[in-house]
């Protein structure tokens, strides 16, 4: 308990420092000035989303291979966190796009594949809600999750493979790319803070799923015991 409070406080402090760094330490950008600072939230959200999706993909495969329920809990937690990060990323992207490009949205390769990714994982969560049996739910959502993950590399590569409205990559990009060193350091801090937040949310959601499972088990064993004691009663009555 104390450890969780301490870690949460630490992550909160890291996020506050990252916010301060993004607003005051990072240098002013040449063309977009203040608006560009959204980048320090926008990119970390996507980094967190891709990490969460990779964790979900590994968890899906591991569930199908081992049938250990822990992988199913990890899978659904990772996907929920990824959807939250994706939503944040899309919103910050739209808010950045309007002043920077003059348009709220466009159907270029990056934005289209990203929107599809968001829809796919929302469908994953919907699918989970509509299957009753826990074993079957875990198996079928794992299979669907593996199919859905096939879009994720496409999203990442889309602004490398095609010319898009969305800017070409500045990190690990082509020969013209690259960040100013101070910007790079601030970005590192922001990515670290967002990843830490993502992990905290993931762990909490995992614990919730585990507790739900324990409650279900307890309820099942209580009902079983009640059924046993009922049958003893009727035997005695005879």
């Amino acid at each position: 308990m104390k450890l969780r409070i301490a870690i949460t406080a630490l992550v909160a402090a890291l996020m506050i420092f990252a916010g301060y760094a993004a607003l005051f330490i990072a240098p002013d950008e040449r063309t977009m000035h203040e608006i560009q600072r959204v980048f320090y939230v926008h990119l970390p959200l996507w980094a967190a989303m891709f990490s969460a999706l990779t964790i979900a993909f590994v968890a899906n495969i591991a569930w199908l291979a081992t049938r250990n329920p822990k992988w199913d809990w990890l899978g659904v937690s990772a996907v929920e966190v990824a959807v939250a990060c994706c939503t944040g990323g899309l919103i910050t992207g739209v808010l950045w796009g309007r002043p920077a490009w003059g348009i709220w949205w466009t159907w270029d390769a990056r934005l289209t594949t990203c929107f599809i990714l968001w829809l796919l994982y929302i469908s994953y969560l919907l699918l989970r809600g509509l299957i009753e049996d826990p074993q079957r739910r875990a198996t079928l959502s794992a299979v669907f999750g593996i199919f859905a993950f096939l879009d994720a590399p496409l999203v990442y590569a889309s602004n490398r493979l095609w010319r898009t409205q969305h800017p070409a990559p500045v990190i690990f990009g082509g020969p013209d790319s690259g960040l100013d060193p101070t910007m790079g350091k601030v970005m590192l801090v922001c990515v670290a803070a967002m990843m830490a937040l993502m992990v905290v949310m993931l762990v909490d959601r995992y614990r919730l799923e585990r507790l739900r499972h324990e409650v279900d088990e307890l309820r099942l064993s209580a009902e079983a015991r009640a059924a046993d004691s009922n049958s003893v009663f009727t035997k005695g009555a005879v």
């Binding site: 199908l64 289209t112 594949t113 599809i116 829809l119 796919l120 469908s123 919907l126 699918l127 509509l130 299957i131 009753e132 049996d133 079957r136 198996t139 079928l140 794992a142 299979v143 669907f144 593996i146 199919f147 859905a148 096939l150 879009d151 496409l154």
Partner: protein, 224 residues
């Protein structure tokens, strides 16, 4: 018995079943026709506009018709519990899935072959000289549709609201296929018809990737 032979037998079974009543085929064709006609009420296209919007409209009609048609193929198995009988037969799960995919492909392709001339008449699009290449694009696109559609109908067969769930799961993942098929068809409907190799390669790649993924995951789709 090899998987290919088993799939062929299952395909024959599906075709025999369907051609007794032809209800699924008829319903699919009529539904796609209704979508095409409804679009023409929504906007009154000139010849140039038909060339621009026609391919998109055609593929949306096929996508909607396909996603509605895919569900009954598994639902039919569930009502008489024939899926259990299939599972007990000495055939690999992939053969069962492949047989269903091929059957769905035949139904949807027949529907498309009937619909494309109707579409060409209603929208004043000339099909002269592009029939073969158009058939190729239709075949590759439909293949992608039925591959993913059969897998997802197996997934959604165990869920509530399955008629609504299947299109909801299927349409986002088919968006890249839709884009590629529409672009390829548009280049064929243009003033100077040409078949864009890149989009054709994308369609083929999509089919191969999803067929491989279904082969790897087929055991889990059909388990008890």
């Amino acid at each position: 018995m090899t998987a290919a032979r088993a799939a062929a037998i299952l395909l024959a079974k599906e075709l025999r079943l369907e051609f007794r009543t032809r209800e699924l085929l008829t319903a699919t064709i009529i539904f796609a026709l209704v979508v095409v006609v409804l679009f023409s009420f929504a906007f009154d296209p000139t010849a140039a506009e038909s060339r621009r919007y026609g391919p998109g409209l055609l593929w949306i009609a096929f996508l909607f018709a396909g996603s509605l048609m895919l569900h009954p193929s598994f639902a039919r198995e569930q009502s008489n519990q024939t899926l259990d009988a299939l599972r007990m037969a000495p055939v690999s799960p992939f053969a069962i899935l492949l047989g269903k995919m091929l059957a769905n492909f035949v139904f949807l392709f027949v529907a498309e072959v009937i619909l494309v001339p109707v579409f060409a008449v209603l929208y004043n699009v000339s099909l002269v000289g592009i029939v073969g290449r158009l058939a190729l694009v239709l075949a590759l696109g439909t293949l992608g549709l039925v591959i993913t559609g059969t897998v997802f109908s197996a997934i959604s067969a165990h869920a509530r609201m399955r008629e609504l769930l299947l299109p909801l799961l299927l349409l986002p993942i088919l968006a890249p296929l839709l884009i590629a098929a529409v672009e390829a068809t548009a280049s064929l409907f243009a003033e100077q018809p040409s078949l864009d190799r890149t989009w054709l390669a994308f369609l083929a790649g999509f089919d191969i990737v999803f067929l491989t993924a279904s082969w790897l995951l087929c055991d889990f789709l059909l388990e008890e």
